[in-house]
């Protein structure tokens, strides 16, 4: 009998242990190890407004972009504050992978085609081994298709071309605020006698979310060298409005050009003198390749 008691005790201890643990079963298998996680939704769109943003398209996603820049607001009521006059670019961007995109577009401003490749060598991530910022590289070219004058010499193909390269570094600081900066280099094969072929600019861009689907965005380029005479630094302020697969970017800007070469070397209006236009970017994404 004496020996049965420890046996019983042991039995009770063993079974009780089983019962006591029933409270939170998940704790038994939980391993809350932090995982590396890439930061998404840094900007709502792949452009801040005019500038490339540090956001990329997902793999297999096509972005159809339709951009409008209207006439100067100061042109008055007879011109419906610029809305009678429209400059536009339409383009297609495609995400080959989460880190590589390509895009082509056509602007009526300067009758230009443009194409670019955009890379994300560094992607901001949280968790172990995560880098706290993103690094973006963009290289592109533009081709002007303005017909040669009847009486002048026919220009070489190469003189219709310009190139740009751009490096951006940026970070999503929190769910509301993202900021980026970087440098842009534009090379035009042919320029007027008083202008320089090479233009250098510092880029600044930011977004601040006002609600889940609306954000305030701003981008600015300061031209540091090779400024085209008679041009100004392009500045744009606007709002991103997101509805499902669409992003509408409504903004005010002194720039007309809708590719890097054009807005950096051809912005002849001065924002601070009120030479501002209304414009919008419409982005609609389609999932081409499902994963």
């Amino acid at each position: 009998m004496k020996k049965i008691i420890p046996v019983l005790l042991l039995f009770i201890v063993c079974t009780c242990k089983g019962i006591a643990q029933n409270e939170d079963l998940l704790k038994l298998v939980d391993s809350d190890t932090a995982q590396k996680e890439y930061v998404r939704n840094i900007f709502k769109s792949t452009r801040v407004i005019n500038a490339q943003s540090i956001e990329m398209l997902g793999k297999g996603v096509m972005d159809v972009r339709i951009l409008h820049r209207f006439g100067p607001i100061s042109s008055g009521a007879s011109n419906l504050f610029g809305l009678d006059q429209a400059n536009m670019r339409f383009g297609f961007d495609y995400g080959i992978s989460d880190r590589v995109s390509v895009g082509v577009g056509r602007s009526n401003v300067g009758k230009e085609f443009d194409g670019f490749i955009k890379l994300r060598p560094v992607w901001q991530a949280t968790g172990p081994g995560g880098i706290p910022f993103s690094l973006i590289w963009v290289s592109g070219a533009t081709l002007s298709t303005v017909p040669a004058p009847d009486d002048g010499p026919k220009p070489e193909f190469s003189s219709r071309m310009a190139y740009y390269h751009e490096a951006l570094i940026g970070r999503k600081f929190n769910n509301r605020f993202s900021f980026q900066t970087g440098g842009v280099f534009v090379h035009r094969n042919i320029v007027s006698a008083t202008a320089e072929n090479n233009t250098w600019a510092i880029a600044l861009g930011a977004r601040c979310k006002l609600s889940k689907r609306i954000a305030f965005v701003a981008d600015y380029h300061h031209i540091v060298a090779g400024k085209q005479p008679g041009t100004y630094d392009p500045l744009s302020l606007g709002f991103d409005i997101e509805t499902g697969g669409h992003v509408f970017q409504l903004h005010f800007s002194n720039a007309v050009g809708m590719n890097e070469k054009n807005f950096l070397t051809n912005t002849t209006d001065n924002f601070w003198k009120g030479e501002i236009r209304f414009g919008f970017n419409l982005s609609r994404v389609f999932t081409i390749k499902k994963h």
Binding site: C14, N22, G244
Partner: protein, 184 residues
Amino acid sequence: MKKVLFTAALFLATVALQAQEKYFTKSGNIKFFSKAPLENIEAVNRSVTCVLDTKTGDIQFAVLMKGFEFVKALMQDHFNENYVESDKFPKGEFKGQIENISSLNITQDGAYPVNVAGQLTMHGITKDVKADGKIIVQNGKVSASSDFAILLSDYDIKIPSLVENNISKTININVNCALETLNK
């Protein structure tokens, strides 16, 4: 000596019994569907944690919201950012009980219909949920599955009026977990 052996045997039997009564997985599946006139939304999470105690009938699930994979990358971004707010509420959890656990005989192959009642926590809100499911025992392997539906409005997940027709107000959820014995 006989009694020592008996003690040891009893002890082993208890331990063995304990090891056999809890089952778990960390790679269970949860799928959800929303059927709407304009667009079907579908996502799957393949790293669901599930623990089942066949003795008490306790069953619990945990899932990382960011682990739901959508066919469309943008849908996934919007799901995390605008709807379930995964940064604020990273986890979904269900803690419940199989009400008719006594009908389950884990040593006998078969498909056992079960009624589960418990609390589902998601998007910072906990609600009582009841669901019918099945526990299947086959060659000593245990798996749990269930289909049920929840209302988005119960979890304060708002659909903006502009996309109201794209998203169904009810979401159908399918759970499927193949379990292993938990040795602990």
